[in-house]
Subunit: 127 residues, 2 copies
């Protein structure tokens, strides 16, 4: 099966300047599946990995636990191809709409990291 098309995003410097990083130089990034709207995961980016994500058209995070660049899917094969990217009103949260390759986004093997609902004894999928 051919790999998904890669579509780099040409962000402007003005857009990138709207992003506000926390004291550790990081900003949270929500990853959402294209088409279904399913929220797959949340991870963190610094300015370098945000730029890299937009240029490569794939999500690249900063791993807080390993303190290193985390090019999502390089090891697992579960790459995320970016179709569109947004920053919120305050510039302190990012949103990436992606085509998810492979088994899914979660290291547990679940497709989405949000596989547990409050108030239900069963594991439940999102809406």
């Amino acid at each position: 099966m051919p790999s998904p098309t890669v579509t780099p995003i040409a962000a402007t410097e003005d857009q990138l300047a709207h992003v506000r990083y926390d004291a550790n130089g990081l900003v949270p990034a929500i990853v959402q599946q294209e088409g279904t709207g399913t929220i797959l995961m949340v991870a963190w980016m610094n300015e370098a990995t945000l730029r890299q994500s937009l240029e490569e058209g794939r999500t690249v995070f900063w791993s807080r636990s390993r303190q290193e660049v985390w090019r999502k899917g390089d090891t697992s094969g579960d790459r995320q191809y970016i179709r569109s990217a947004y920053y919120d009103c305050d510039g302190d949260v990012l949103l990436f709409v992606v085509e998810q390759e492979g088994k899914g986004a979660c290291h547990t093997g679940a497709f989405s990291c949000f596989y547990r609902a409050f108030g239900s004894s069963d594991q439940s999928d999102q809406d």
Copy 2:
């Protein structure tokens, strides 16, 4: 027009114990519109406002800027009625699927806080 139905969520203590708060006692909460999957906003909760949200069936946040409980919509009328709620694999991000009342979620007047796309000169809606 009648108000939306309120549906409290009976989370178990075991589920609530999975939630991991940061050094300030806060956890980020993504708010997503029921049905469309549109991501409306991200705000923060502490343990008390998480419990209050689930019990009242409405989103209640902790305002970091005002350092006070922020019962979403009490002032603006733009309440969010919770239909389901999730915690992620690490327990450090929450997700609320809601029925959004009023004009929308964003203090700018936009329906969603994520109204600006990278790489486009126009304001763009999410997928």
